[in-house]
Amino acid sequence: MDRFTWSNGLLEMNETLVIQQRGVKLYDGEDKAKLDVGIALLSTHQLIWRDLKNHECCIAIPLSQIIYFEEQAAGIGKSQDPILLNFLKERLTEELSQKRWESTPMSQPIPTATNSQTGRTRAVGIVGIERKIEERRKETEKNISEAFEDLSKLMVKAKEMVELSRSIANKIKDKQGDITEDETIRFKSYLLSMGIANPVTRETHGSGTHYHLQLAKQLGDILLAPLEERGGMMALTEVYCLVNRARGMELLSPEDLVNACKMFESLKQPLRLRIFDSGVMVVQLQSHSEEEMISSALDNVTDKGSLTAEEFAKLLGLSVLLSKERLLLAEKMGHLCRDDSVEGLRFYPNLFNSQA
């Protein structure tokens, strides 16, 4: 932009207007210059830009000082504002090749640039953009190394707290009676805030942190309807996605969810966390009893003769994972038999039982 000079926008005697184009915005390198929408005028000698809103504002660049120009595709969201339209571009190319300004010099000499020591002038366009990219890269690097420095200092302090918490934990282990329940709860919440694993209690004893208690209550409300819709059972990963999608931000960590679900029983919520032999974890409605599930599995299998987990899932509208668990449960209780082959796992009513 430093080749542009303020101008009165008036053409000289020997100068002819070639073309003018409305709705042109000026950009300095990649940034929009302070000049917004205006008219670009191409003459035989210069390229002039005049602000549409403020006619006083007018700048110009002599064509002799344009070394290079390029057509730049409109950016995102700026579909209506090309910098140089085709007409203008063609004309500009023409004028630059014809160099009519040389044959008909203007009465006033155009001020030459002040900072071209080597005689090389900076092109508007690519070089400007490249320079900006490099500047930004250096800036980012500087920011990151600063961030690491600050982070290291922070980590030193965090480490002190880890050591302190270990010392406290050891003392709690040794003389259990001296610490009040209240203090233990507070300590646990400090550990939670810092992300330090709780070395004292492996289980939550039903008196985990206040945060998880609150969460468990919330979950008890939120999950009732979805559970009903899904036959009373949902895999924990399903719950995780459902809850976090609903929250949008301040999401729950997987551990938060597990810890909260572990508290359902002590809070007398109508939900339970249940872990199957396979390791699959589900949230289950208390109202959907074990017997119901098993007898429904048996009924369905007897009805169809035999069922795979996939077929059962389709029947009930459940996920394959959970329908498999139900079949396995019914098998465990002796009501179903399996046929395990390359073609898959298929369940049959246990005739040994019923016809023995």
Partner: protein, 254 residues
């Protein structure tokens, strides 16, 4: 004449002195908890300051995230343990990884019927990025790995199997022991494997090879091509990306 340090009285006195010394020397746990609470407040404000200056770095730079995680691990802190933790709340690290966890679960669920619950980390990465859209933050494979590690606590069999320099991500509780893993690694090069290949490379008996392959078939992790020239081939849908991209076109470009 008194002789010092001798006799029952002296012993009792010594014991009393020891007790007093101990009392003065040891800091009680209750006091330490109070001390910790104060340090926590200070730390919290330091972290806030850090966040105000550098929160962007964490969001934008996956390299920074890796370093951050490693530093935390070194000192014994898990910044992703809870959404209520300071790290998560103030630096926003939590939301980034927890949301990623949701996206990983959804991708794995959507593809499970095709690959049996086994997917390469590359493909998972590709699909998660696609799902996030053009303008979302960048996500590296290291980010995925950390998010998956967190998902493990929810049961459901999330795990990672090292294969050919990268990983296969397992999202079903299918039992995969070392034999299965080794066969998967063998199949990685071509996307399929045969009984004789297994016998040649791993020097197993026929029964052992068949047992493993049958298990993979049953779990839906392998497909049998009995029409292949020569002997039957066992293909692993998790491992062939050309096939999956073809399938995704028929998906309606999901």
């Amino acid at each position: 004449m008194h002789r010092r340090g001798v006799g029952a009285g002296a012993i009792a006195k010594k014991k009393l002195a020891e007790a007093k010394y101990k009392e003065r020397g040891t800091v009680l746990a209750e006091d330490q908890i109070v001390q910790m609470s104060k340090q926590l407040e200070t730390f919290k404000s330091n972290l806030e300051e850090f966040a105000s200056k550098h929160k962007q770095e964490i969001r934008k730079s996956s390299q920074f995230r890796v370093q951050f995680q490693e530093m935390c691990a070194t000192i014994g802190v898990d910044p992703l343990a809870s959404g209520k933790g300071f790290w998560s709340e103030m630096l926003g690290v939590g939301d980034f990884y927890y949301e990623l966890g949701v996206q990983i679960i959804e991708v794995c669920l959507a593809l499970k019927h095709r690959n049996g619950g086994l997917i390469t980390l590359d493909e998972l990465h590709h699909r998660v990025l696609k799902g996030r859209g053009k303008f979302a933050q960048d996500v590296s494979q290291d980010d995925l790995v950390r998010a998956i590690k967190k998902l493990k606590v929810m049961g459901n069999g999330f795990g990672m199997i090292p294969v050919g320099g990268s990983y296969l991500v397992q999202s079903v509780p299918a039992e995969l022991n070392m034999d299965h893993t080794v066969v998967l690694q063998l199949a990685e090069k071509k996307g399929y494997v045969s009984v004789s290949e297994i016998r040649e490379s791993l020097k197993w008996e026929r029964e052992r090879a068949c047992h493993v392959l049958d298990h993979l078939l049953k779990e839906g992790l392998a497909w049998l091509d009995s029409q292949a020239s020569g002997e039957p081939q066992y293909w692993l849908p998790a491992l062939f990306s050309e096939l999956t991209s073809l399938l995704s076109i028929s998906d309606g470009g999901k």
